[in-house]
């Protein structure tokens, strides 16, 4: 592995971890539930990218399978949380009307 590649690898590890941290700040701060769901979605995508980086760093292709499954699970989690938020507000609206 050349020097430039290993530098780029370490730098992009740092950048991706920084982006996870920034998304986590939004997750903690987020004034509403959709804000938190968006932040969680961003974190999942960043961790998929992290798995790609780990595959290069340890020269193990199995991390790409992890990335694939994580993308799938992250999509399901996002959809489930979005449906939960929507249904939750529909229910509270119904109960306040009656």
């Amino acid at each position: 592995m050349s020097q430039f590649l290993s530098f780029a690898l370490e730098a992009s590890f740092a950048l991706v971890v920084l982006s996870v941290v920034l998304a986590f700040i939004r997750l903690a701060k987020g004034p509403s539930l959709p804000d938190r769901v968006v932040a969680l979605d961003m974190m999942t995508v960043a961790i998929v990218a992290f798995c790609g980086l780990a595959a290069i760093r340890y020269e193990t292709a199995a991390f790409l399978d992890v990335a694939l499954v994580l993308a799938l699970v992250g999509f399901l989690a996002t959809v489930a949380l979005a449906r939960f938020a929507e249904r939750n507000t529909a229910r509270t609206k119904e109960s306040t009307n009656e």
């Binding site: 050349s2 690898l9 959709p34 995508v45 290069i56 993308a71 979005a82 929507e86």
Partner: protein, 105 residues
């Protein structure tokens, strides 16, 4: 040569990931934040995963990487659409742009 391409893809992807989450942190309301995070997140992740495909240079791994990128491209808009619909129906407070009135006149 391929190591240079890999390194460039990784660096560009990492920079885009940080730009996306800065947007997520600084922009004013949910829908605008979603604009930053979903599109740039997909781009950053796609670039980094493509970088790993270039690094391994193996047919099986390339197919796996193409599957991951296709999956991200298919699911990210659906997830964003559902969050957006949930946000609108929840009635979150949207950003009031102070300059909008001046443009209408």
């Amino acid at each position: 040569m391929s190591e240079w391409i890999t390194a460039l893809l990784l660096l560009i992807g990492g920079v885009f990931a940080v730009i996306g989450s800065i947007g997520l942190l600084r922009l004013p309301d949910v829908l605008i934040r979603m604009h930053a995070s979903t599109k740039i997140g997909t781009l950053a992740c796609g670039l980094i995963i493509a970088g790993s495909a270039v690094f391994f240079a193996d047919a099986q791994i390339t197919i796996r990487v193409i599957a991951i990128i296709l999956f991200l491209l298919l699911t990210a808009p659906i997830a964003a659409h559902m969050i957006g619909r949930a946000a609108v129906s929840t009635g979150v407070k949207l950003w009031e742009n102070k300059t909008q009135g001046q443009l209408d006149e």
